[in-house]
């Protein structure tokens, strides 16, 4: 992970970024989001989208961040030069989840926790893999929820919601994940 090593050259930058965002307060918040940023990209490897999700073969895979961005430039660096399913990866940032049309993986920031019920509804059955670390996200209409147990980041997946959106999540991803609202 050359990018991880290179990012260590900018601890100050990350510290500044961490201070700038009140949601990332606590022990090494940037480290946590570094990991989550990588996970976000890894979802692209373990998820299949329906053919209708892409306009053509060259359409990039879009990873969106809704609400306050906890990743900053780091997310862009993670996906820089990488490809998923043969497609280039594009990072888009949205004010709110409801605006994330045409996005493939959407991270909903903690800042959105009061409005996610309203925001997720318009996305309806669009093939968007919604990811968040808002608590009970998987039970509130989201698909993948980050939660922390014994200092480790774990996944909670709502398969029903993913299937309703026409997404297929690899059984491999489900192996280490906790499943809610539907059986694999």
């Amino acid at each position: 992970m050359a990018f991880l090593r290179s990012i260590r050259l900018f601890p100050l930058l990350m510290l500044v970024a961490g201070l700038a965002r009140p949601t990332v307060i606590g022990a090494a918040p940037s480290k946590e989001y570094q990991v989550k940023a990588v996970f976000l990209f890894n979802f692209a490897l373990f998820t299949d989208w329906p053919a209708t999700a892409f306009a053509d073969a060259k359409t990039p895979l879009v990873i969106g961040v809704a609400g306050d961005d906890p990743f900053g430039e780091f997310l862009n660096q993670v996906v820089a030069g990488e490809k998923a399913k043969g497609r280039p990866i594009e990072i888009k940032r949205y004010g709110h989840a409801s605006e994330a049309q045409g996005c493939h993986i959407l991270f909903v920031s903690d800042s959105e926790k009061r409005r996610i019920d309203d925001d997720l509804a318009p996305l309806g059955t669009q093939p968007i893999l919604t990811v968040s670390d808002i608590s009970r996200f998987a039970r509130r209409g989201g698909m993948v929820e980050f939660f922390t147990t014994r200092g480790r980041i774990r996944l909670r997946v709502n398969l029903q919601n993913a299937r309703a959106a026409g997404l297929t999540i690899s059984s491999k991803l489900l192996r280490p994940a906790e499943i809610v609202g539907g059986r694999p």
Binding site: N42, L45, F46, K83, G86, R152, S170, K172, R175, P176
Partner: protein
Amino acid sequence: MKFADTPIQKKLAIIVMLTTAAALLVTCAAFFAYELTTYRETAIRHLETLGQVTADNSTAALAFQNRDDAAEVLSALKAHPDIRLAALFDQEGKMFARYPREATVDEPPPGFSHSGFGLVDGHLIGLVQVTQGRDRRLGTLFLKAGTGEINKRLRLYATITLVVFAASLAVAYVTSSVLQRQISYPLLSLATTARAISEQRDYAVRMPAGGKDELGVLNRAFNHMLKEIEKHVAEAEQAARTIRGKNRELESLMYVVSHDLREPLRTIQNFSEMLGDDYADKLDEDGQHLLTRIRIASDRLERLLLDLLDVSRASRTTKPTVSVNARKLVDGALERLAERIRDSRAKVRIDDHLPDLFVDETWAGEAVLNLLSNAMKYTRPGADPEVEVSGFAGEDGVGIAVADRGPGVPEGQEERIFQLFQRAVSRDIEGTGAGLAIVREVAEKHGGRVWVENRDGGGARFVITFGRQQPKPEASHE
């Protein structure tokens, strides 16, 4: 035992077994070599598959940094008893999970970012790249397996090979010992028959005709030979019978002639004596002379008849043979010749060691006497007789040799001199020509023979043997 001396049955068995063993050895070696290479490949492929599956199952664990899940995936390897070590490394080569848990793996193996399997230091080593999607490398799986399973399998193969080898040899042995009878039995029976024939001289036996193979040909040829031999033996026996009959006739004729002719001869001698005694004054000088001629001739005739009688007796003797040292025979003869030896100043040299003989003592002594007496007649011109007596042992049996320094026997006369009344020398030398005939008769009667050879430096050497069945020297001290 040399292979050439081994019985044919054993020979056939050895040949079959060696051939079978050689073929089996090559086959088993090939089989084993094949198994060795293929099973290694199979074991490597097996490990490769296992590694691939494990790597595939580890992708999410690596991608989402779930060590527990990774450890669980790896622990499934316990189903494979030969796996010594399994370790997952992340993209940077940091140890992420391992199996068994207590294993110590600190350093990533060299070349951990490549895939490959191989046999290193008695272990199967494998590296599998953990990837998700087309070329997203998430980490590396390192596997190390013992060769216990391979060795177990190879031992099994070795055992099977040995069992197959032994069983094949056993089957080959049984089969060959049954089948080889086809060859060895006829040959053995032929050999047994041949031995029996040569020992018992029964030429009437026949081999079974046999089949059309070479053994059958051999049997038939053997039978044909036997038939021929039987015929020749019968002919020879017939001839021998005829000769024996003729001989008997001759012998009795000789006896009759020598015996019965003496009676009228004695009459002639008596009357001519009476004529000389009583009518000497009535006969003039011519008459006296004629009478002397008659008496000389009749004396000579008497000697001839006596010699003839001797020869006849020599051939008819049936006296049992005894063991006697030749020296005794020689001494006896010299005693009878003492006067002549003294008169002729003959020098007689006798070897210290003369052989023991198994003979009819009387006639053997007679033969020796005749040989000595004969030798004393032949000298160097003007010299005294020189006679040498020595032992003889050779192809023709045991006997003695008597040598002189006379003129030797003219070439071509070596046989003739032994015939009755045949002489090789002029009438200057006394004798009727019966002596050597008696010698020959005695020798042949004993199963021996007599011959003459000229000596280096002049002279003749007569050798008489008394057959080969002489007692061994150490067994005949009398």
